[in-house]
Structures are given as C-alpha cells and as structure tokens.
Symmetry: C2
Subunit: 245 residues, 2 copies
C-alpha cells in the first residue's frame, strides 16, 4: 500500500483508494483488522486526521466497520446484500432524479429487467412469494388507499415477483431499478379506473406465475409497461393543459 505524494489528489482519497484496492484484490480479507489509525498514519506518513478521513470514505461504501475500545479498530466488512441493496437504491434514485431521465426510459428499463426474472420466477417461486403477490393485489383493491400507499404496494408486488426467481444477484440488481422508479411513479395520480386496470394486470401476472407460464407473465408485464407509460403520458398532458389554461 503506497501513495504518491506528487499526485494532485487529496491524500485521504489516495489512502482510501490504496486500502480499497487491497480489499478488492483480496490482500485484506473479510473481518481482518486494519492497523490502528495511529499505525496507519505512521505507515502512510500522514496525520491521524487524514487517515480518519480516508477510513470514513471506506465506511461510507460499507467496505469497513469500526469499533471503539481496546481490541477495537477498523475491520473489513463483508458486504451484505442489504448493504448492497441500499447503495444500489441510493445510486439509482439519484441517477434518475439528477439526469432528467424520461419516464419512458426508466419504465422501459424497469420492465425489461423484470421480464428477465419472470421465467425464472414462474419456475421457482415458493408458495410464500405467490401469497405475497396475492396479498398486495388485495391491498391494492382497498378503496381508502392513498396514491403513495398504492405505489408502495406496487413495489412490494414486483419485489415478490423478482425474489421468486431465487437468484440473490438478480434481486439485488432489480432492487435499484424498481425502487428508484418510485419517486417517478409517485408523480402519477391513480384514479379508481386506472387502479382497476393495474390490479387486473397484476392478477394476470400472478396467475401466470402460479401456472408456471413464464412467457405469459412476460406478456402481462409488457402490457403493464404500455399501460403505465400511457397513464403517465395522459396525467402529464392533463397537468400541462391545466397549467396553460
């Protein structure tokens, strides 16, 4: 682990990179303890504050965890799926909100990815996944539901569909795509009629998953995509005309 004093980058960034590379390369293994801040400071020939800033950078990426007290210190973290989900969702959400990605583009990506899970889910889903999907469909039919709650239930439905594929890597990848859409979906007002249409498509998808018909589920997802895009378009148009008039 060496740093280049001539480099223009911040020392703390260089140190963070050096340690990060060691972790990725496997030189530092999971649960291994890093040298104490004082030792690192000496090794890199910088002050303790600089080392601390480097460690905070790594902590922000869930690469290490720290523990106080004797025999405490910084330990290489096993990146857990929940941690990875969290980062994936944060990144995806910001990416969408900051780069004025169109609703259509985000929607297309989301449903394309979901369709990649559908055949696997139709084959492997447990009774539990199916029960979750049915329960969320039931919830979506409740009259008093707010738009936000409807969206949240929608996310839960799709999550169960994705998790049914029983591939944690897929679930992790999809978490970002599905959840990051939520702020965009929340801009839509769901009328009683549009909810009915969505529930009908959800039911069709759940039926296909239950029957083990992956391609049917894909077709249902495609219809849901088309309907969602159309719905967003009409809501936006209505909003625009109201503002103009």
């Amino acid at each position: 682990m060496k740093i280049d004093p001539k480099s223009s980058a911040d020392l703390s960034a260089q140190i963070a990179k050096a340690i990060r590379d060691s972790i990725i390369a496997g030189d530092l293994i999971v649960d291994e303890r890093l040298p104490s801040e004082a030792e690192l400071a000496e090794q890199f020939d910088v002050s303790r504050s600089t080392v601390r800033e480097a460690l905070k950078r790594l902590a922000a990426q869930s690469l290490i965890r720290t523990q106080r007290g004797a025999f405490g210190g910084a330990f290489v973290n096993r990146l857990s799926y929940p941690d990875a989900y969290g980062q994936q969702i944060t990144t995806s959400t910001l990416l969408l909100s900051m780069n004025d990605v169109s609703f259509d583009t985000a929607c297309e990506a989301r449903y394309a990815l979901e369709r990649s899970c559908a055949p696997l889910s139709a084959e492997r889903r447990t009774a539990d996944h199916l029960a979750t999907m049915r329960a969320e469909i039931f919830r979506q039919q409740q009259p008093g539901l707010t738009d936000e709650a409807f969206c949240a239930s929608d996310v839960a439905f799709h999550r169960a569909l994705v998790d049914g594929a029983d591939n944690p890597v897929l679930s992790y990848q999809l978490a970002g795509a599905v959840e990051a859409m939520q702020p965009l979906m929340n801009m839509i007002t769901f009328t009683a009629r549009s909810r009915e249409a969505i529930v009908a498509l959800h039911t069709r998808i759940a039926d296909a998953i239950e029957a083990g018909e992956g391609s049917d589920a894909c077709e249902g997802l495609s219809q849901l995509e088309r309907y969602t895009v159309e719905l967003a378009r009409s809501v936006m148009a209505k909003r625009a005309s109201r503002e103009a008039g």
Copy 2:
C-alpha cells in the same frame, strides 16, 4: 437539517445522513454550494473535523465534490453515468467476491439481464455498435491472445450489445452485472476449442442483432450461458482432480 445528540451513531455519520437526505429530497439542488465547513460546524454545533469526516463520506458516494480556494467549497454533484457505473461495479464485484456466490448464480443473473436488452438492441443498435461487436469477435480469434485479454474482449462485446439498446439506465444496471463477472471468468482457462465455440456463438448473436431478430439473439445468449456454465464446471472438475491426484 438536524442531528440527534442522544443517538449512538457517530456524529459525522448523522451529519452525512442529514445532508444526504436533503440532497435526495431535493432541498439541495445540483451544483448548489453547501455552507463552508466552518459554517456547517457552527450549524451542527460540532467541530470542523467532524464536519469534514461527514463531507468525505458524501464525497465517497460522489454526492458532492469539493473545490479549494476562495469561492470554493462543497458542491452538490450531478451523479454522472460514469460515476454511477463505477460505484455499481465496485459494489457488485465485492458482493460477488465476498458472499461466495456460485458461478452458476452469477452467470444466470448476467445472461438473464442481457437477454432483457437483446430485443431492444436488435431494434435500435447503430452501425457503430455492430462494428464494435464484429471487431471484438475478430480480436477473439487472434491466436496469441491471453486468457485475460480474451475475457476483456468478451466484456467489450457484451457491452456493445447492451449499449445497443440505447437505454442509459439499462446500460448502467448491466455494467455491474457484466463487469463483476470478470474476476470469475478469469478463473477459467480458455482452450482453442472453447474459444472457437464462444466465437461461433458471438457471431450468431451479432448476426441476429444485425438482422433485427431479438428472439434469435436471446436464444444465442441462452446457448452461450449453457456453454459457459458447462465450461466452468469442467474446468473446476479438472482442477479438483489434479489437486486430488
């Protein structure tokens, strides 16, 4: 933006969270300047070092950038696609390497995701994407190629396929899945015969993309997935028997 002094979490983590939430909520918009470190220290009633540690956490997530000098400071970063790629790849790579995800699981996820791009790519790919795919196929046929270079070319081929879908959100999502597989792929030795088989499948996929036949491309990807899994299995078996004998 408030922090809870009673909370057990580190102050710098709390402050980072407060600022992060403000960014996600849109209270702080892109390119907006945060108060100076000294001002933030006063606002949160902590020392400047604590504020700095919080800011480094945010910088590690590419949420802010800092600039020195008068009229410098910390600015809300527009999360660019390259930044997002980078984080996605780091996270995915570590997730795979630290959670002993099986080769089959990772492979299944990767090809399932790629199949979701194939129909779009068949429809929209430019001549440029196609030329890249052909060029990489050509490179893969060169005799002197090392296994690592072969893998890298493989990644470039699949990237072109994915980028052909012309959906930046999909490209971003797939970057992680494809690149994170590379360390696993690098464990495989590619014999002349296996390279030949892979090149044949790549050619078939490229032909399908060129012809606008998305389902053909999917079929090619499925065959490639099966072949890759089989190849990995035989390589691993050979390695195990050599160690045993």
